[in-house]
């Protein structure tokens, strides 16, 4: 009470001029900034509107329903030249997600292996991992992509001189990696169902086993049983049904191979580049994460009699993951954004199909590039939302 009165009476004379009042200065500054930003946006928008209107350029998003008229080399969803630009957009989007998902899978595996190898006691292993990380991290990704595409994959032989593998069922040439395709026959659905059931049962058993271990301390060989259920059972079903698949082998006819599935070199180059490059960063994150777990934890685990492998699996990794996952997520996001470099190697991702071809065919660059940016922004905001959620979930609860 008294303090408050003294305070106010003391500060009153100090405010000699409104100019020095921090509140007013704050407001004035913000209003100026706001005006400046509004001016920028306003002039940008009016300029664009004027420029577009004066030149008679079509605007709006109506073009999305027009016929695209061009073909796309690789598509996960049905698409022909008669599809609309909207469908072309989704082809690009799914292609981006496809290459990003597979890239993330390989980059994570390789990254963990290299990261752990960097901490190995074995000199040779440690050094090789270090050279890998230092080299790939310090060379631009675009250069690596172009290297894989132009120097390695296009140096492969032409279709007629293909490298044959696996008893002439798999071919590697400068048109890609051509593999047999397995076409489902009647009964294949039973096989798919058996996989699904296997996974479901494994999940149930894993939960039960964990509960039992918590209650009684008895350990159930969950992993072996689960593997048996997910792989073994479907295999048995497969042979019982008499393999309900026919293999379609690729054959050289005319210019190219017919039949089978082809992994195009554009996709291979992008996947190789993205995975190897991101793996180097993931390796560093994994290494830092493991080093962040204090040495006392290892020593405590050893003194309890745990073996090094068990220590790693039960003590170090769970604690390291807490440190690893946030930067790991942002590496996943980086990989997804980096997949936009596909345009340099001709893989039809979102940027290449939409910001490239569609923008040029329609001439509506503003709309097309805005949509592309919004897609990536959404992906990135979703990722940071996940990261915040994860951080709050795994944050150390101290007792």
């Amino acid at each position: 009470m008294t303090i408050a009165t003294i305070d106010s009476s003391a500060s009153q004379p100090a405010r000699a001029s409104l100019f020095y009042d921090p509140v007013i200065r704050g407001v004035v500054f913000q209003v100026l900034l706001a005006l400046f930003i509004i001016y920028l946006v306003y002039s940008g928008v009016t300029n664009a509107a004027n420029n577009l209107a004066r030149a008679g350029i079509a605007t709006g998003f109506g073009f999305l329903n027009n016929r695209a008229g061009f073909d796309i080399g690789q598509s996960l969803i049905p698409y022909t030249a008669n599809s609309t630009y909207r469908q072309a957009f989704f082809v690009g989007l799914t292609n981006t997600i496809f290459v990003a998902a597979i890239g993330i899978f390989f980059a994570t595996i390789l990254g963990f292996i290299v990261g752990i190898a960097r901490l190995s006691k074995n000199f040779l292993v440690r050094k090789v991992a270090e050279v890998y990380v230092e080299t790939l991290r310090n060379i631009p990704l675009l250069l690596q992509l172009l290297f894989w595409y132009k120097a390695v994959l296009s140096a492969l032989p032409a279709p007629r001189g293909s490298i044959e593998m696996f008893n002439s069922s798999v071919f590697l040439n400068n048109r890609g990696l051509i593999m047999p395709q397995y076409l489902a026959e009647a009964g294949a659905s039973i096989f798919y169902a058996s996989i699904a059931i296997g996974i479901a049962v494994a999940v149930v058993i894993a939960r039960w086993a964990k509960k039992r271990q918590m209650a009684t301390g008895q350990i159930f060989p969950t992993i072996r049983v689960a593997l048996g259920l997910i792989i073994g059972v479907p295999l048995v079903v497969l042979f019982v049904l008499g393999v309900p698949f026919t293999a379609e082998y690729p054959e050289l006819s005319g210019f190219n191979f017919r039949g089978g599935t082809t992994i195009r070199p554009e996709f291979m180059a992008l996947l190789l580049g993205l995975s190897l490059y991101t793996a180097a960063f993931i390796a560093e994150i994994v290494r830092a994460g493991i080093l962040a777990v204090s040495k006392g934890q290892t020593e405590a685990a050893f003194s309890l009699g745990l073996r090094p492998n068990t220590t790693m699996r039960l003590v170090i990794i769970p604690q390291a993951l807490r440190v690893i996952i946030p930067p790991l997520t942002s590496q996943y996001l980086n990989l997804t954004k980096n997949s936009s470099l596909a345009i340099a190697v001709g893989y039809p991702d979102l940027v290449s199909v939409f910001s490239g071809t569609v923008a040029n065919q329609t001439g509506q660059a503003v709309e097309v590039i805005s949509i592309t940016m919004i897609v990536y922004l959404t992906l990135s905001l979703l990722t940071s939302a996940f990261m915040n959620w994860f951080n709050s979930r795994v944050a150390l609860v101290e007792r």
Binding site: Y39, N47, N50, N51, A55, S154, A155, R258, G346, N360
Partner: protein
């Protein structure tokens, strides 16, 4: 405070308004800056390409030089902006370039929805196919199942799709953004077929490791009228560009060339006198000087000279005049009369 806001708003208004006032007068702006900004391709032999000394040459380049000659009496008063296929229209729409002379196909949608005005057809072309000779293909109809290299975002890409689907053939598109990438991919054997405008095929064939190992197939699957374009909304500038083109062709029709120009200036032929500014105020009406065509022919030559020098008999490309001959010789080039 209010003062600041008011002045900021006033400034904003002034900027926006000032920008409007400047919009239509391309010729004034060009004269003020002293050169034409001309959008060309990033490198296509015969059309727009830099030689060893870094000088731009080619048919598309010479159109811009002709405009510079007409306006400034100096074919060097041009600056070139190499543009990719994707950038070209925005560059023109936004005023970054004054004229787009970049082997661009004149189509209806480009003419109506993109804010462009096509000036004329400086080169009648058609889309063709090039294949390695060792494939022993002699017709495009044998191309079913082939991998085709094509540049993205071009009319070529659309024609290709239409042609293969119309003939019930399958193909495998290999699409790149830049022309260099398409060339490199074809050269490396990534695809069996290269498709683009046939003039482009001849130009690209020259740059391959072994030009003789590749053949251009006889079929032309589309109409590709290539021509320069200007921004819509400035009729004066459009008129100048149009008449520079007609002037080039008309000069050839009248037999005026850079070699006989001095004799022609003394000619009594009323058509020649009108064209060369001896009679009337045709140049001045357009916003230029009356001897505009004299300047063009002196510095750049007539259409025939430009053609032969860059893509025709005097060039490595050796393209026949064909459709690009004068209408009197069975071609389509027809200069509107200067009268």
């Amino acid at each position: 405070m209010t003062k600041i806001i008011l002045s900021a708003v006033a400034g904003a208004a002034a900027l926006t308004l000032g920008a409007h006032a400047a919009s239509a007068q391309t010729l004034e702006a060009v004269k003020a800056k002293g050169y034409i900004q001309c959008g060309v391709s990033t490198g296509l032999a015969g059309f727009s390409n830099t030689d060893d000394a870094g000088e731009w040459t080619g048919l598309d380049v010479d159109f811009c030089r002709a405009m510079a000659a007409a306006i400034f009496d100096d074919p060097e008063a041009v600056r070139f902006s190499p543009l990719s296929a994707v950038e070209r229209f925005t560059a023109l729409q936004s005023g970054e370039i004054d004229v787009l002379s970049r082997n661009t196909t004149w189509t209806m949608s480009r003419d109506t929805a993109l804010g462009l005005n096509f000036v004329g057809v400086t080169f009648y072309d058609g889309q063709g196919f090039m294949v390695p000779a060792e494939l022993n293909v002699d017709s495009a109809l044998q191309l079913s199942g082939a991998s085709v290299c094509v540049q993205s975002g071009t009319t070529t890409e659309l024609n290709l799709t239409d042609y293969f689907s119309a003939n019930n053939m399958e193909y495998n598109p290999v699409v790149f953004e830049g022309l260099e990438e398409v060339n490199a991919a074809y050269n490396a054997g990534r695809c069996d077929v290269y498709t683009t405008d046939s003039s482009g095929l001849y130009a690209i064939r020259l740059t391959l490791d072994n030009p003789d190992d590749h053949v251009v197939l006889p079929e032309l699957i589309s109409k590709e009228p290539l021509g320069p374009a200007v921004r819509r909304g400035d009729d004066q500038w459009f008129g100048i560009a149009k008449w520079v083109y007609y002037g080039l062709v008309y000069a050839e029709e009248l037999g005026i060339s850079s070699e006989n120009l001095e004799e022609m200036l003394a000619s009594e032929n009323p058509d020649v006198r009108r064209a060369l500014g001896g009679d009337g105020t045709f140049g001045a009406d357009m916003g230029l000087e009356n001897d505009w065509l004299v300047k063009i022919v002196r510095h750049v030559g007539n259409y025939g000279e430009v053609f032969e020098r860059n893509v025709g008999a005097d060039s490595p490309l050796q393209i026949e005049r064909g459709l690009n001959a004068l209408y009197t010789d069975g071609g389509l080039q027809y200069g509107m009369p200067i009268r």
